[in-house]
Point group: none
Chain length 234, copies 2
C-alpha cells in the first residue's frame, strides 16, 4: 500500500522525468491536484515539497510551481555508473563501441605494466550517449590477470564500467579530476566546438594490491558537473 502523497509524487515525477513536462513547464496548481486525487491540500503540498527537496520542482508564490531546470551532476564519492546516471535523469542511454582490442602492455608505460601483471590487457574506446546525443567519451584498460572474464564480455551491449561494477568487488579507487580543452578528435566525437572546456576524470581501481582497471572519461563541461558531499576527516 503506497501512501497517497507518494502516489501524487510518483505521478508528477513520471511526467517530469519522462520529458512530458519539460523544464519550465507549469505543473498543476495545488487545488487542481486536490481535485484530481480527491485529497486535502496538505497531502498535495507534502508531495510537491518532496519534489522541491529533490530539485525537480521550483515554486513561486502567485506564479505557481514549475519543472526545474535540470541540475546535471553526480556524486564524486561513488564510482560512477554512467548508464545508471543517464537513466536516473530520465534520458535514454546508448552505447557506441569505437574500438576494442586485446593486446600486451606497452612496456614503456609503467601504469600499463602494473595493470597487466604479465598478462594481456583489454583496451576499450567507447562513447556514451544520452537520448542519442554524445554524453561522455571513455578510454579504458582492463587487466586480464585481475579480471579474466573481461575477455568474453560483450562491451557493445553493456558499458564496461557497469559490467565491471557487477563483476569485480573493488577495494580502492583513485580519481584524478582535471579540466582540458577538447582536441579535434574529442570535439568531433562529442559533437562540441573545438577547445570546449571538458572535465577529464581518470580513475584507477584496485582490488587489494591488484590493479583492476584504468579509465579516462571526458565530459563536456557544459553538460556535467561532479558533486562531492562529505563531513570532516574522522
Amino acid at each position: 500500500m503506497t501512501t497517497l502523497n507518494r502516489r501524487i509524487r510518483d505521478y508528477l515525477e513520471e511526467k517530469i522525468l519522462s520529458g512530458a513536462w519539460p523544464p519550465g513547464h507549469r505543473i498543476p496548481f495545488e487545488h487542481e491536484l486536490m481535485a484530481r486525487f480527491d485529497c486535502s491540500r496538505m497531502t498535495v503540498n507534502k508531495a510537491i515539497a518532496a519534489l522541491v527537496e529533490a530539485g525537480l520542482v521550483v515554486r513561486r508564490r502567485r506564479g505557481g510551481s514549475f519543472v526545474a531546470e535540470p541540475r546535471v551532476h553526480a556524486p564524486v564519492l561513488a564510482v560512477p555508473d554512467i548508464r545508471a546516471e543517464v537513466e536516473a535523469r530520465g534520458r535514454r542511454y546508448g552505447l557506441k563501441l569505437l574500438a576494442r582490442q586485446r593486446r600486451a602492455a606497452d612496456p614503456r608505460s609503467e601504469g600499463e605494466a602494473q595493470l597487466a601483471r604479465g598478462g594481456d590487457l583489454i583496451a576499450i574506446d567507447c562513447l556514451h550517449l544520452a537520448d542519442d546525443r554524445p554524453f561522455a567519451l571513455e578510454e579504458r584498460l582492463i587487466g586480464l590477470v585481475a579480471v579474466p572474464d573481461a575477455a568474453d564480455a560483450d562491451f557493445a551491449k553493456v558499458p564496461p564500467g557497469t559490467w565491471l561494477l557487477d563483476a569485480v568487488a573493488w577495494t580502492e579507487a583513485e580519481h584524478r579530476i582535471a579540466a582540458v580543452n577538447a582536441d579535434s578528435r574529442q570535439a568531433a566525437l562529442l559533437d562540441i566546438p573545438l577547445h570546449t572546456a571538458c572535465l577529464s576524470i581518470e580513475r584507477r581501481t584496485w582490488r587489494g594490491e591488484m590493479d583492476v582497471t584504468h579509465v579516462r572519461q571526458i565530459y563536456p563541461g557544459s553538460d556535467y558537473d561532479l558533486v562531492a558531499r562529505f563531513t570532516p576527516k574522522s
Copy 2:
C-alpha cells in the same frame, strides 16, 4: 521571522550537534514537544521529519524517536587549504586581495539569503599566487551571522579559506566541480590565454543547518587537478 517548525528543528538539532543528547538518546515524544512549543502535532512532525531526512534522528513506532548513530563517512576530498597546498609543493605562497566588501544579501539570490540569515555578508575576491605567479582565483561569501568574527579578519594577510578552517568547526561540505572556458576577466587575472579550460570548484560549507560560506575557485586546468581516493560505500 523563523517558522515554528524551524524553531523546533533548531532546538532539537542544537541538542544533538552539541552532544547534549548523544547517539541513542531518546528525544521527546511528539506530544511532549506539542506541549512545550504549544503547537499541533503536524508541526512537530514536520520538524522531526526534516531531522530524519538529514540523518540525525531515527524513529520507531511505539519506541519513540532517537538520536541516530553518526553516519560513517569515508574521508574523501579534503576541504583544500590553498596556502598549504602551494607550500607543500615547495613554492612560495602569495595572496592578492582584489575586493572586500560588507553588504546585505541579494534578495533575488536564494543562496545568498540562506547564507546571510538576516544579517550581512562579507564578499571577498582574491587571487592566490605561487612563486608570484597567479595560481587560482577565488570569490567567496561569508555569512556574518554564522561567523561574526569575519567582520574583523584581515584577509589581505591570511587567505580567507585558511582563516575559516581555523575559526569554524564545519560539519558538512559540498563540492561542485565543473570545467569552464576562462572568460576575459579570468584569463587576464590568471595570465592565461582566453578560453583556457579551467576547473571551477564551488563549495558550500555548513555547520549543522547553518550555512557558513560559499566559495568559487577557478584553477587553470594545466596547473591543477583534484585527487580523490576512497573505498566502497561504508
